[in-house]
Structures are given as C-alpha cells and as structure tokens.
Amino acid sequence: MTKRASVLFDAPGPKARVRYLIYSVVVVAAVLAGGVWLFLQFQDKGQFTADKWRPFTESAIWETYLLPGIQGTLTAAVLSIVLALIVGMIFGILRMSEHRAMRGFAGTLVEVARSIPVLILMIFLYAIFSEYKVFDTSQRTLAAVVTALTIYNGSVIAEIVRAGIRSLPKGQTEAAVALGMRKNQLMRLVLLPQAVTAMLPALVSQMVVALKDTALGYLILYTELVRSSFQMGAALQNTIPALLVAGVIMIAFNSALTVLATKLEQRLRSRKKGGAVVAADSILTDAAPGVDLTQK
C-alpha cells in the first residue's frame, strides 16, 4: 500500500516527524486504553481466569467441540466451492451464449440467485429437505448449507468466469476463429484455460466468502465452528474465550487464503505483460445483483 497511499503526503520534514510521533502516541494510547478497558470488563465478569482457558490445552475438549466444528466448517466450504465451480462455469458460459433466450435465462437465474440472502435460502432449503425427507436426517443440515452456498457462490463464480473470459485479449478469439475452430473448441481449448488462470485470484477470494458463510448454518443447527464454540462456551462457562478462539481460527484460515490470492495475483501479473487477471479483491466477490461490474 505504501507507494500508492503516499500519493497523499510528502516525506515528512523535521517538524512533521515530531507531529507524527505525537499522533502515533495518541493512537497507540487510544487503542491500548480501549483494549485494556474491554479486557478489564471481561475480567471483572471472570471470563479471563486461568481455568476458563485451561480447557484449550486439553485434547479431549478439542475433540468434543472445536475439531468437529472446524471439520464441519471445512466440509461445507470445500463441498460448496467445488460444486459452485461447476455450476458457475456452466452458467458463466451460458450467459455469454449467442442465443438470446439462453443468455436471458441464465442471466435471470444468476441475478435472482445473487439477490436472495444465503440465510433465507438455507432456511428454506432446510425446511424443504425436512418436509420431503430428501436427505438422511444426519446429513440434512449439511445438505442445506452446501446447497445454499452452492447456489449463491455459483452465481458469483459465473460472474467471475464471465469477467475472466472478457479480460482476455480479443486476438485470442480472432486467432481461434481464423484457425477454423468451432465455438465449442474456441471455448474449451482457447478461452477457458486462460480464463481459469486469470480468475484464479478472484476464485481464491471467493473461498473466503464461502468459508465465512458456512457460519450461517448456525441458525439451522449445523455443527460448524461458531456453533460448536458456542456449545463449548455454554458447557464450560467460558463463552468469551471460546468465541475468541473461534474468531482467531477463522481469521487465520481466511487471512491465509487472502494472502494466497494476493500472491497468485502478483505472480500472474508479473508473468506476462498485459496478461489478463481478475483482481483478487475484485468487487465481484461481493457483487450486487443488477450491477454489471464485469465491464470494468
């Protein structure tokens, strides 16, 4: 960030350096004061005594609460990302079809899927699955979480695919057509392989969204990390430590993915001059329905 951000200010002179130092002290003091105050508040309620934290050193506790939670979160996230990738590819390509009706159909589905909150989808699917006994009772919550996440993330990935294909230089299509390739070959052999590489950073970022959204399964009683840490907090009377640990685990996973996405993007950008890349922090990953952001 340094280079772009420093657009806003010059290298500080001696006076400015003193001023910055004072501001720094003020900021540090404010943050520390807030943190310590909050810490003391929780300590007052006995949330930070040693025996509230001791459970985290026992493997039995991890096996009962946290590991199943992590497993639930990861299972749902991985399944839904893989399925969403397939759904997204299909709909992304359908949206670029030459047939107006096909384009319209896929476009409408994608836009509608993006306008409905994942939680609403999840609750609804769970009710449907229970009513019609679609899945085994033990798998029902997982199925609802995965299906809802697949529908939502699939619609976003469809947009990422479209952005990836659009980001390719026009010459690629022209060359393939000149070689006499059919539409299907053009897509399969020329455009898609390049587009997948181009959209890799955005895809990894989308995994962060999927991973976070598994926590919505909380409401339909799916055992994911937030729910399992909530249960742990209730059982061992250490709500705050349990939720904090869940937060740290989630942040660790997601930051790792974010770093990976940025690294990928840098590598792809440096690899070929003017090569196509869909940015990792692309707004597409949280894109609004109705706004065509792929044009930027």
Binding site: V7, V27, Q41, F42, S115, L119, G290
Partner: protein, 223 residues
C-alpha cells in the same frame, strides 16, 4: 399463496420494515466508521495505518454470525451492556445494528481505499502545492473524487448489507429471516413462503443495484 399473504400481510410488512431499518441504520454507521478507518489506512502515520489494516483484516475475515453472536452473548449477556433499553428485543436489535456496522465498515473502507487509489497523482500534488495539509487534501480533493468513483462498489456493499441483515435472526431480531423460519414451521405451503421472501428480497435489492449503477454513470469523474 395469496391467502397466506393476506393472513400474514401486516407481519410480513413489519418484518421487512425491520430489515429495512436494520439496513439503513447499519449503513449510516458503517459509512462513518468505514470512512474513518479508510482515512487511517491512508494517513501518513504508520501506527494509524497498522491499526486500520488490523481492523480490516480482523473484521473482514470473521464470519458475521460470530460478530453478532459475540455482541449479544459477550457484550450484552456477559457484560450487561443494554445500550439504554430495558427490553431484550430492543437491546438485541441495537446490538445487531452495531455488529452489522462494524462488519460492513471493513468493506466500506476497502472500497473507499480503492477509490482513493483511482484519484490521479497530480490531483493531490496540486493540492499540496497549494499548501493544503493532509486532512484538507483528503477532505477537499481526494475523498470527493474517491466517493464518486466508488458509487457502484458502495452500492454492492449496501446490497450485501441488506442481505446480511438477515443474520440478525441468530440473536432473535424479528426481521424477515426469522419470520420466514417461523412461518415455515407453522404453515404447510413451503414453496409459497419461500417465494414470498425470495421475491421480497429481489424487490429490495434489484432496484438498488440498478439505481447505484445509474448513479455511478451519472456521477462518473471524467478522466
């Protein structure tokens, strides 16, 4: 479907009204907080930049469910911060607004920062050569242009917020998602209920997307 709507009409409208209110209040909160964090992230003070970065990393990578559960269980149940109301429903409603604001502010900050990056270098150089300080430069020259170039992304953030406001259901705020799960339990017409709420959100979010798309074109900065 229609008899369902007529039987529940006031309830449905009330639930969506709560959703809209949650969205509106959290949007204001997130915009203010997000602008402050963005200003910190581009400020000349390294510590402030680090604090801003930490804020974004923490809150963008935490599930919203966790933040809202933490607000309700940690800050309300454990610490007893009732936010000046003596009713449980009001308290949870206010905590939901705070949780949503804190979470969304991280996204507002990131959008704004990318907007600041689109402002041409010469603009702030010109500002500086006129003798403007960092904060004057930010307020009069950079932020107005940045805001105009991030109208569409901010619209996306607002729409995501509208959808995310359903998460308030996990702490029992009586908005659309909670009413829906209640209706799904009590009524037989599952598909009709699903259709009503899906339609409700399509009606809420699609026009917003179109509006922001139009606004973005209307206020585009010519470069």
């Amino acid at each position: 479907m229609f008899d369902l709507i007529s039987r529940y009409d006031t309830k449905i409208l009330e639930a969506f009204w709560v959703t809209i209110k949650l969205t509106a209040f959290s949007a204001v909160g997130a915009l203010i907080l997000g602008t402050i964090v963005a200003a910190m992230r581009v400020s000349p003070i390294p510590i402030a930049r680090a604090v801003g970065t930490a804020y974004v990393t923490v809150f963008r990578n935490t599930p919203l469910t966790l933040i809202i559960v933490f607000c309700s269980l940690g800050l309300y149940s454990t610490l007893g911060w009732t936010l000046g109301s003596d009713q449980l429903t009001d308290t949870n409603y206010r905590w939901a607004i705070i949780g949503l604001s804190i979470y969304t502010a991280a996204f507002v900050c990131e959008s704004l920062r990318s907007g600041i990056n689109t402002v041409a270098l010469g603009q702030s150089e010109a500002g500086r050569s006129l003798g403007l300080t960092f904060s004057q430069n930010l307020r009069f020259i950079v932020l107005p242009q940045a805001f105009r170039s991030v109208i569409a992304p901010l619209g996306s953030v607002l729409i995501a917020l509208t959808k995310n406001s359903t998460v308030a259901a996990v702490i029992g705020v009586s908005e659309a998602a909670l009413l829906m799960s209640e209706m799904l339990e009590n009524e037989a017409a599952l598909l009709a209920i699903g259709a009503i709420f899906a339609l409700g959100f399509v009606v809420l979010t699609l026009p917003m997307g179109l509006l922001f798309g139009w606004l973005a074109k209307r206020f585009e900065v010519a470069r």
